[in-house]
């Protein structure tokens, strides 16, 4: 691994591909072509899924959606450098559509999440992905716990936790990063700096010269990487992972990108964002950038693109159809609160089931069940 994280300054942005994807400006990551092509396909899929969840929300079929448009390379690139058999990923809420490397179950589960189904939090074992987190930054200490656990067990994994520039202002981030530094735990703190936290721009979020610079507070390296450059993401995350699993401790990675869409389907960026700002990022599309590079190397083409889009659409349709077909008992909110319900919950559930005209015995039903 040629990239030295200790030397990578928190002020410069690490990049492999030129902005238009036409040239290499740094050594590409040491991965097989197939894997890079897989990242490309994953990004395409995320983009297609993004449009799909957006319109499902507009049709009233799915819940509020937080688009990933523009940030696909951050997630797909990082995931490509991780080992799904050993590493944990802890998403915030924007990432799941690009986490296919951790298994096709991720998208299927996420479809349930968007549907408002309780099983939407259940990425099934052995998929090493934590449920979506709404309480910003709260998953960061969990990542430390997972990493600490892996170290205690002598397992060669890392915990890679995604969080936004906004979330970086929460105490949970700082407390976890500080403790991680003390433990030297294998955590990758992946700060997705997409320029905004809803309507709050960077300069209202921090006066630090960069998010990566915050690593100085914890005694481990911080690097800035071009989040719209999938190859750069792979390089940096791979280097940080290598460092972590060999006992070198955590790394703070700031992926510099831009949220090309609204915050969520409920948000209107016109209220707070100058159109020029978004326009300035249009030429830096991460998918286009990698596509140019791969096409230049004969690894991608218009046909491959069409094929990838069709495959993506099919996968998403299947996931969504499955989600829509999955029913749930209306009293399923009593499931999985505890391993065994409290006596009071038993009474409450019986009362509700009676009211709904259901069999008094809920059985051993789970939220994923198919009705009473």
């Amino acid at each position: 691994m040629s990239l030295d994280l200790e030397l990578a300054a928190a002020e410069t942005v690490y990049r492999v591909l030129s902005e238009d994807g036409s040239a290499l400006v740094a050594e590409p990551p040491d991965v097989r072509d197939d894997d890079v092509v897989a990242v490309m396909a994953e990004m395409v899929k995320a983009r297609v899924a993004n449009g799909r969840f957006f319109s499902l929300q507009r049709q009233g079929r799915a819940g509020t959606y937080a688009p990933i448009e523009g940030q696909e390379a951050v997630v797909a690139g990082a995931a490509a450098a991780l080992d799904p058999a050993h590493d944990w990923v802890l998403p915030q809420y924007r990432e799941p559509v690009a986490l296919g490397r951790f298994g096709p179950e991720v998208l299927r589960t996420y479809a349930l999440y968007q549907r408002g189904h309780p099983a939407g939090g259940h990425f099934p074992a052995p998929v090493r992905v934590f449920p979506v987190q709404i309480s910003l930054a709260a998953q960061i200490p969990h990542a430390l716990g997972l990493a600490w656990a892996m170290r205690l067990k002598g397992e060669p994994g890392v915990a890679c936790v995604f969080f936004g520039d906004g979330a970086s202002s929460e105490g949970d981030f700082y407390e976890a990063a500080n403790f991680a530094g003390v433990l030297g735990a294998p955590v990758l703190f992946l700060c997705v700096n997409n320029g905004w936290a809803i309507s709050t721009p960077l300069h209202s979020q921090t006066a630090a010269t960069s998010f990566a610079a915050k690593a100085a507070a914890f005694g481990f390296p911080g690097v800035r990487v071009d989040g719209n450059d999938a190859l750069a993401m792979i390089s940096v995350v791979a280097a940080a992972r290598e460092r972590a699993v060999t006992g070198g401790g955590p790394t703070l990675i700031e992926a510099v990108t831009f949220r090309m869409g609204p915050h969520t389907t409920a948000d209107d960026p016109k209220r707070y964002q100058a159109p020029e700002e978004r326009a300035g990022w249009e030429g830096r599309d991460p998918i286009l950038r990698l596509r140019r590079h791969l096409e230049g190397r004969g690894l991608w083409s218009a046909e491959r693109q069409a094929e990838a889009e069709a495959l993506a659409a099919a996968e998403i349709d299947a996931a969504w159809d499955r989600a829509e077909a999955m029913t749930v008992s209306p009293d399923a909110f009593f499931d999985h609160v505890y391993a065994e319900p409290t006596p009071r919950m038993v009474t409450q559930r019986a009362e509700l089931r009676a009211r709904l005209g259901l069999d008094p015995d809920p059985g051993t039903g789970t939220g994923t069940g198919t009705g009473a």
Partner: protein, 325 residues
């Protein structure tokens, strides 16, 4: 005017009235708040008095404490009440106690605004009814308007109150609740419940969004069951209008308490206990609780039967009226 418009209007009036009033929080300035509660304040009062903060609830409340000690009147917003947990140590241990800790030297005239409540299929932690947790923090007042007019009158009173107030707004009612709001000065005192409807057979006691549910239930009880139900909107849980509760229960001899929070140790328990202490001998039947269940607020597909609805309140009222008769 809708309830959220009443909030917005009142914030304008109070900022106009008192130059010490400051509004800050996440997305309150440029964006005017994710529900537009603070819309227009930045343009009108400028970036010194209306401020977008970093994304950190603890320091939003913590700075309010310091600003208050220096004579300002902060009205911070917590975007959703579930994220007040991030600031719980500052709310319970600091905001609520500056007066006590300083033995009266510093007051803390801070009004923390936050929406909560279910029924609108929000993501996790946007709907939780946490009012009882704040009642368990002596030093705080806890205020929950149910109508647009009350939102104005109570918010103005809260902002002018010398003590910290948790001002909890019904998310579902932001646009659904719509009623006449007096244009000029309008103050509703903290600590006075509102007899929304009088009745002779049973008293329905509620606050926030559940007042509307109780109202609907009362209408059904009257129309379909010949039961005369009064509805008492508590408006403020601290201070609690014990007198009004006792008077209503003494009149009807029966009561149902309606709330969204999980049952165990929710504020409804306090209402029942208060009634049992103060009006026991007037009771002709046990007081019933209709509320959320002892589970976390559920995901969208499961919301329907979690939040109390009129039918549940009607059933409970009929049960209460059928007992001990």
């Amino acid at each position: 005017m809708t309830l959220v418009e009443a909030i917005n209007h009142t914030l304008h009036q109070e900022m106009e009235r008192d130059g010490k009033v400051l509004v800050f929080g996440q997305d309150v300035a440029r964006n005017g708040g994710v529900f537009r509660a603070t819309d227009g304040l930045l343009d009108r009062f400028g970036g010194r008095r209306v401020v977008d903060t970093p994304l950190a609830e603890g320091v939003i409340i913590g700075t309010a404490v310091g600003l208050a000690a220096e004579g300002f009147v902060p009205v911070p917003e917590i975007q959703f009440l579930g994220f007040a947990w991030q600031a719980f140590h500052q709310i319970a241990g600091q905001l609520a106690r500056l007066r006590y800790r300083s033995d009266g030297r510093f007051g803390c005239p801070v009004t923390v605004r936050a929406p909560f409540g279910g029924g609108v299929r929000t993501p996790e932690l946007h709907s939780e009814a946490l009012e009882a947790q704040f009642v368990q923090c002596p030093g705080l007042k806890v205020v929950l308007p149910a109508s647009a007019a009350d939102a104005k009158g109570l918010l103005a009173s809260a902002i002018r109150d010398p003590d910290p107030v948790m001002f909890l707004e019904p998310l579902k009612g932001y646009r659904l609740v719509k009623d006449d709001v007096p244009e000029g000065e309008h103050l509703v005192p903290l600590g006075k419940a509102n007899a929304v409807r009088t009745g002779d057979d049973v008293t329905l006691i509620a606050w926030s969004a559940q007042v509307e549910v109780a109202r609907k239930a009362a209408a059904v009880l009257a129309a379909e069951h010949g039961v005369s139900a009064g509805v008492l909107d508590l408006r403020t849980l601290v201070p609690l209008d014990i007198e009004a509760i006792v008077a209503a229960v003494e009149h009807t001899g029966r009561a149902v308490v309606v709330s969204e929070a999980p049952q165990s140790a929710g504020f409804a328990a306090e209402v029942v206990a208060t009634i049992c202490e103060e009006a026991f001998y007037s009771l002709e039947a046990p007081v019933a609780r209709v509320g959320g269940y002892d589970v976390p607020y559920p995901v969208g597909m499961l919301e329907e039967h979690y939040v109390p609805d009129a039918a549940r309140v009607v059933a409970a009222a009929l049960r209460v009226c059928g007992e001990g008769a």
